[in-house]
Symmetry: none
């Protein structure tokens, strides 16, 4: 949601340019301020940012992308198992990357995944290999066994026309060395297994790029979090489409609520999300309503699409407010990071934040945007302060000391 | 630069009283806020404050003054070597301090230093003694060898008419005990070697105070920092005269740029500094321009001199802005600590901060001073947030997470 002033749009941000009567009403009666999702200047990934927003200091609790990816698709990890975010990719005969997404392959990936699972590694003993296809060209590699480590580098070079990388240990432990060896053997063996697989031979016949290698990245273990339900004694639910966000929500102990018409894109059904959140508030104390559309527009560098998504969010929030009991409902509106249209990627700017509800000091700020909230009454907080602040209003925080 | 309101000057601070049209223009279009160089209420030394401003948490990375002093004059330290900031001083026959700066001795100090270097210690084995004269009455003592520690107390009592102190170990380690023994032997032996040295006999004849002892303080090792160039992939330069600041800049990986006419005093050539910074910005991504004059005036308790120095800084910044490309240049203006004219020393007040540049949210604050920025849009950050914030605007910060 947050952004930087754009010269071509009167030095306004998309949030500033957007018509947002409901947000403006909320911010006037609520706390208004800035939030550094992690730390000032540090661009967070969505995973790290959500850890923080749920109250878990990511410097302590974040254990890499792979573990979250696995959790998102329901794979159970033992504490020592290491998981990797993977792509089905296309390389040439010299293992030079031709397409990181194998022509965005959609069909046959389950059969390819089956051919990889259960692979017996030769360089490393007592490690079980599991490969799970997730959505389109994406998958998760799980190495199960003891003596493994998440401190290994990516095989995926993150660019085209260069050779597949060797995974390297990132510390001096034997566990990291052993894991890097396992990953490297898996990578070259994935190429041997996949290159002549019938699914790929058929793709080549059809003039499509073969999914002839697995490129892994983001080694991670399962994060050891005490769920919000235990920490605060609350029932928590989440409305989100993005697998990564759903995964973190599950790890934080939230129940994931599916909403028909929610897509994770610009075409998501905002109103269906509002209805689902309203229903959820009947049985949960805390509901996360996640919208991906603004981030998508930011990555696309599309100011108007971002502005439009914000206006849709405003309507969604209007519907939510109308249905909510104002005497006992708090609403916080913020972003997990800035995806500025000029940057087309996450940046380390602070994000705007409002917190409205019955016991809140009114800011008297009349428009919800980056400029105005920076003069607001909340000051500047860090992401992991947000959940305790909300739990305090719900009367769910425990006293520290006597 | 920062200060406290002075009753005799209409309850204004020097920055508030100063005519600063260029700073005022910058702050209006940029972020305005307060920065605690280290932590609220903690008066930082210039060394600790610069660590923090460069993004290194001083609680983690600061390893004492001596190591920085040594780095500042180009002395290479091995990881276990311990260095001390020293003065040539004058004591009477009972080792009572008569003058901590030996009448601000200027001549003959190199000969005196030569007489101390290579001293064979009797109480401690396998420790090499090196003494380097730096500027005027100042010098650096280096103890080289293994099994040394920086956790020893000062010999310098920091006041007159008291006896020279014994260095004491500050923890229970044998290394600290051994280092304290070495320092104590060096101190008494320095008195034996220096008191009848021809340089001092001549001084006594001339009615000047003899430099008859070395008083050491601020034991330190070389700080282990990853340079900014590695952390962010930037070329960094610094314009500073003060040896300590130059030393920290070098340790942080900056190239030190010499400027003719820059003195580190009230008489420094501000405009020459502006020109040097402008030229430096052609080949560096990040340039530190350090001015000592405001701190000097603060230590002197001289309001007018401080106001005047600030007005000179404003003109310097005006020259800088005129020469800079506004579409790609960011400028941050702040202080490494407050040296209030009423205190005549560093205090733990927050300092004013502005950050201006192309993608920045405008504060609409119309005057740059302590009062106004505290109502600004940046909130209150800590010193070590500043460099990541600037690197974020330069697109040089790495994403944390995915």
């Amino acid at each position: 949601m947050g952004d930087r002033p754009q010269r071509d749009y009167g030095n306004r941000t998309p949030l500033e340019a957007a018509y947002t009567p409901h947000l403006d009403r909320l911010v006037k009666g609520g706390w208004a301020g800035l939030m550094d999702p992690v730390d000032p200047g540090i661009p967070p990934g969505s995973d790290v940012a959500h850890f923080s927003i749920f109250g878990y200091d990511p410097y302590k609790y974040y254990t890499g992308r792979g573990g979250l990816e696995a959790a998102g698709v329901g794979i159970k990890l033992a504490p020592e198992d290491v998981a990797f975010r993977c792509n089905f990719s296309t390389t040439d005969n010299n293992l030079v990357v031709v397409d990181r997404r194998a022509g965005r392959i959609r069909n046959g990936t389950q059969e390819l995944a089956k051919a990889l699972t259960g692979m017996q590694l030769k360089t490393v003993q007592d490690v079980t290999v599991e490969f799970v296809q997730t959505i389109e060209h994406r998958g998760v590699l799980v190495l199960r066994g003891s003596g493994l480590s998440r401190h290994v580098s990516d095989v995926d070079p993150h660019q085209l026309n260069v050779r597949v990388l060797q995974s390297k240990p990132l510390d001096n432990s034997s566990e990291a060395r052993r894991t890097a060896d396992a990953v490297n053997e898996f990578t070259s063996r994935s190429n041997e297994v996949l290159k002549d697989h019938p699914v790929n031979l058929e793709r080549i016949r059809q003039g499509e790029k073969p999914a002839n290698i697995i490129l892994s990245r983001g080694a991670g273990t399962f994060p050891q979090l005490t769920p919000l339900s235990t920490l605060y004694g609350v029932r928590t639910g989440c409305i989100a489409v993005v697998a990564l966000v759903r995964g973190i929500c599950k790890i934080a102990g939230m129940e994931v609520i599916d909403v028909k018409g929610a897509t994770g894109g610009l075409d998501t059904d905002f109103m269906a999300k509002a209805d689902a959140a309203t229903r959820a508030l009947e049985s949960y104390d805390y509901v996360l309503l996640h919208v991906k559309a603004t981030d998508v527009a930011g990555h696309d560098g599309n100011f108007e699409a971002k502005q439009h998504a914000i206006e849709s969010i405003d309507k969604m929030i209007g519907k939510l407010i109308d249905a909510a009991d104002p005497s006992r409902t708090y609403i916080a509106v913020t972003a997990d990071h800035t995806t500025a249209v000029s940057v087309k990627d996450h940046s380390g700017d602070p994000v705007p934040l409002l917190i409205a509800g019955p016991d809140v000091i009114p800011s008297e700020v009349t428009k919800f945007c980056e400029k105005t909230v920076s003069h607001g009454n909340l000051g500047r907080i860090r992401g992991f302060n947000l959940t305790p602040i909300l739990m305090n209003y719900l009367g769910k925080t425990s006293k520290f000391g006597y």
